[in-house]
Symmetry: C2
Subunit: 109 residues, 2 copies
DNA sequence: ACCTATCCATAGGAAATCTATGGTTGTGGC
DNA sequence: GCCACAACCATAGATTTCCTATGGATAGGT
């Protein structure tokens, strides 16, 4: 029944890292940011987001600390580490290479 | 340990359909074609390819028949159906939309 | 005789995502 | 005061997709 995916599998980590490269942010804010920047095309479900953030923490690509939001709420803010920045660069490179390769397959010739 | 993927997850069906849209082909030939067109960036493992072809058959997007190769071998040739052609169009549209959206998230601004 | 390339296919496991839940806490409307 | 809703976090379970590993058959070249 061909379910429409919310995003391209394998790109979530990259999107999160990229978002955090602009500014530290909490989970909910990351989801909103990606949705907004993609003009509502990409939706990051919470059930995908939080496990992804756990992975990124484990890999040491982000670090987290509890803080208060401007709206007076407890929230966990994530910050990109140096390793995370390297990883982002790596993923960007590979992604672009993949996209270029797929483009070659898709082009009519 | 960041394993380098052979292709972008979620794009295999589209790549197969696109390849078959050019000409009917057998499995092994599809894999070679994708590898060649992508200039060796994308590799379709046989363990991914044949299950994918079964899925496509089940969905009615391709049909298959046994024939002889130019090299005198038994091989199963797959042909795109009308439904498969529609599906390919759909996947292409969604893919491009996704890529554009990801591009917006990745761009610096 | 052997090796390699050509060809098909499945089983089992790993990884990523979604659905479904469940919970806490501010704020604004009534 | 109460209720609905938005803002936040998180996990469990199912599903899907892909990879690794395996097994098999056959043609052609050396």
């Amino acid at each position: 029944m061909a379910k429409r995916p919310d995003l391209l599998p394998g790109t979530l980590d990259m999107l999160i890292l990229k978002t955090l490269s602009r500014a530290p942010m909490h989970g909910y804010g990351i989801a909103l940011s990606i949705k907004r920047q993609s003009e509502d095309v990409l939706t990051v479900e919470e059930g995908s987001l939080y496990p992804a953030l756990q992975r990124l923490l484990l890999q040491g690509w982000v670090k987290a600390e509890w803080k208060m939001t401007e709206t007076k709420r407890r929230a966990r803010f994530y910050t990109l580490t140096a390793a995370g920045r390297r990883q982002l660069g790596l993923e960007l490179t590979q992604f672009e290479q993949m996209i270029a390769a797929i483009g070659r397959v898709l082009q009519d010739a």
